[in-house]
């Protein structure tokens, strides 16, 4: 086993990995940018190395700096987390070249699966169903028109190297194709340094269900079942659960999808943890979308239901251990649901809301798991993804898990920045959600159905009273405070003085 591992990431996932390393009695090395000097991950790690300024291109994406940090601290392996360099084959290669074990799949598997178009070809050849469309990136507007016409509108434009909805555009009519193509390509170029875009048929109101795959270096490959991740906004998941509500009535689907995922993983020569994403339509036809060659954000729900620690397993596999479990050992017990707490404002179209966390109450109690990367007083930087924490609840069945998660959300409070907690409170109370009728258009439909939440008059009265009492006790009202001690306040003052 390793003695020391470097965590090439930040935020909640760096904390998650550091915790696992400590449990395995492995020393941890955090790396940090200027903005993250005081981050929770840096506070929790055994060692920490500064790797550059705040922009991720100069820090968390800087392969050279990260390898230097690993050399300097004598780390033996590098855990990339998710995002940043986690799916970068050049990084995986560079780690191994420099003598560090990359805790993830082989670089060759990342290369085979890294481009969505290549992954679709591979999946098709391996016998996994894929969404109708082209496996090749589009070369010209003319070709795009022909393909879109042949597939039939609406179509989706997707970044070949992409993920997380970046470089993705829905196109309903041919006249929208040209501008959408341009937007998608430039967004893809910015996000993934590749402007390759491909076209596929849009499956109406699909579920997004993914299969967790796990393999060792000796050809043992198993799946840990599915996660349902249909609740998305802007193609970014916000609520995930395990099992999928579909499996209640159609348990055979897990085996079918699991087999398809294993076929893809095997064809790619995959080992370590990975996830095959599928779209599932109303008739429960499923289509392979892509394989994420890393640990997923939402891995905790699988851990809660299967009882396995995916990060422990990742480290053990990377250290050369054989999988100690077989497919027959994997059991799914109870239900887990997770919500991703983002620094964003659901009332303003989910705009990011960076800034200082002035107050924080963390939920706890039976069946609750909080994977957080923040603390009271922490300034959420504007430079990175706005994920603050993941809150997950486990219970014996889905209704109980939902109620437990609602209870925990009620205990949770984050002040100073806007978060989407109130949004989860509403979604989890929704009858459609509780009935498990989920699809990727759920959030848009939800807002169209219910509109904004009505203001509670009694609470508004109490809020007015509390604000007045608090203001009189703490004298200076925010707008009258003399010292402009933050750019937030400075900009607020500017706003007021206009």
């Amino acid at each position: 086993m390793f003695r020391k591992v470097l965590v090439a990431n930040r935020g909640e996932i760096a904390v998650r990995v550091i915790r696992a390393l400590r449990e395995l009695r492995i020393a941890s090395v955090a790396v940090y940018s200027d903005a993250d000097r005081g981050s929770l991950a840096v506070r929790m790690a055994d060692e920490a190395v500064h790797i550059g300024p705040s922009p991720s291109s100069e820090s968390y994406l800087n392969i050279h700096r990260i390898l230097d940090a690993a050399r300097r601290t004598g780390a033996e392996a590098i855990h990339p987390g998710y995002g940043f360099l986690s799916e970068n084959e050049a990084f995986a290669d560079a780690c191994e070249q420099a003598g560090f074990v990359f805790i993830g799949p082989p670089a060759e598997a990342i290369r085979r699966l890294g481009s969505k178009t290549a992954a679709r070809r591979l999946a098709k050849a391996a016998g996994a169903p894929i969404v109708p469309g082209v496996e090749e990136p589009v070369r010209s507007l003319g070709q795009a028109r022909r393909v879109a016409r042949a597939t039939g509108y609406p179509v989706l434009l997707k970044a070949a190297a992409g993920g997380g909805g970046k470089g993705m555009r829905r196109v309903d009519r041919e006249e929208d194709l040209e501008p959408s193509l341009r937007d998608a390509a430039s967004e893809a170029a910015r996000a993934f340094s590749s402007e390759e875009v491909y076209i596929e048929k849009l499956v109406p109101n699909p579920r997004h269900i993914e299969i967790q795959v796990l393999g060792d270096r000796y050809g043992n490959l198993i799946h840990l079942g599915e996660r349902e991740c249909s609740i998305q906004r802007r193609h970014q998941k916000v609520i995930e659960e395990c099992p999928s509500p579909v499996m209640l009535e159609h348990p055979e689907l897990r085996q079918k999808m699991g087999d398809a995922a294993l076929r893809v993983a095997r064809a790619a020569g995959y080992y370590n943890a990975g996830t095959c994403e599928f779209l599932v339509d109303a008739e429960r036809n499923f289509y392979f979308l892509e394989m994420n060659t890393r640990l997923q954000v939402e891995h905790p729900v699988t851990e809660l239901v299967t009882g396995y620690d995916l990060v422990h397993l990742q480290v053990r596999i990377a250290a050369g251990e054989a999988l100690a479990l077989t497919q027959a050992d994997v059991r799914w017990r109870g239900w887990a649901i997770e919500c991703r707490i983002y620094a964003e404002d659901p009332d303003q179209d989910f705009l990011p809301s960076p800034g200082k966390i002035l107050g924080l109450s963390e939920p706890s109690g039976p069946g609750i798991r909080l994977d957080s990367g923040v603390y009271q007083g922490w300034v959420v930087p504007m430079d990175y993804d706005p994920l603050l924490a993941k809150l997950a609840a486990w219970a014996q069945d889905r209704p109980a898990a939902i109620q437990r998660l609602r209870r925990a959300i009620g205990e949770c409070s984050i002040a100073g920045i806007r978060t989407n907690l109130g949004f989860f409170r509403r979604i989890l109370a929704d009858a459609e959600f509780q009935a498990g009728r989920l699809h990727t258009g759920f959030i848009d439909e939800f807002f169209a159905r219910l509109g904004r939440e009505e203001e509670d008059v009694e609470l508004a009265d109490l809020a007015a009273v509390l604000a007045s009492i608090h203001a009189s006790r703490h004298r200076a009202a925010p707008s009258q405070a003399a010292a402009a001690d933050s750019r937030w306040r400075a900009s607020g003052l500017l706003e007021l003085m206009r």
């Binding site: 990011p352 907690l421 508004a460 007015a464 604000a467 007045s468 937030w488 003052l493």
Partner: protein
């Protein structure tokens, strides 16, 4: 004490007596009839209140934002501005003047694209400036039709939340 309260679109007058944790208040929103309210407010941690309204328990937290007090109660967030009427009359300013309108950055970030030129006539809903923060791009749209009379946004420059990007008339 008396306070002028602004909460979203509503404005009201609050008359409040506070003795230790016992609070009696009368609140009058935008000409609605005044309502009485009595509660016990105990500040259990700095900014955190254990509230009893009748026998009902509420947990609440009050924090500062640049322009208002943010009250979080029962999972809801309220942005409350409260002004002492004596001070308010001294520095009154007009709200919601419709003629000239500033389009401001809703979050700290970076201007990635400027889509209009100074002097241009724009339609309501037309994109003006694209601001990027936390890996997300946000297109600022014209809230009304009009003319761009000032253009402060420069592509590539950093902006603070609330900073004026475009002025329309």
């Amino acid at each position: 004490m008396k306070r002028i309260i602004r909460l979203g679109a509503r404005q009201g007058m609050l008359d409040l007596q506070n003795e230790q944790d016992q609070v009696r208040a009368s609140i009058e929103w935008n000409g609605h009839p005044a309502r009485g309210l009595s509660a016990r407010c105990l500040e259990v941690e700095p900014g955190v209140y254990a509230l009893l309204s009748g026998d009902r328990v509420f947990q609440a937290r009050v924090t500062k934002s640049p322009a208002a007090w943010v009250v979080e109660i029962a999972g809801r967030q309220f942005h409350v501005e409260c002004l002492d009427p004596r001070e308010a009359s001294a520095n009154r300013r007009g709200f919601g003047s419709e003629g000239r309108q500033n389009i401001t950055a809703p979050m700290p970030g970076k201007v990635v694209r400027v889509l209009v030129e100074e002097g241009a006539t724009v339609e309501q809903g037309q994109g003006l400036v694209v601001v990027e923060a936390m890996k997300m791009q946000n297109e600022m749209k014209a809230p009304k039709s009009g003319k761009v009379i000032a253009l402060a946004a420069r592509a590539g420059s950093s902006v603070a939340a609330g900073q004026v990007l475009v002025t329309l008339e």
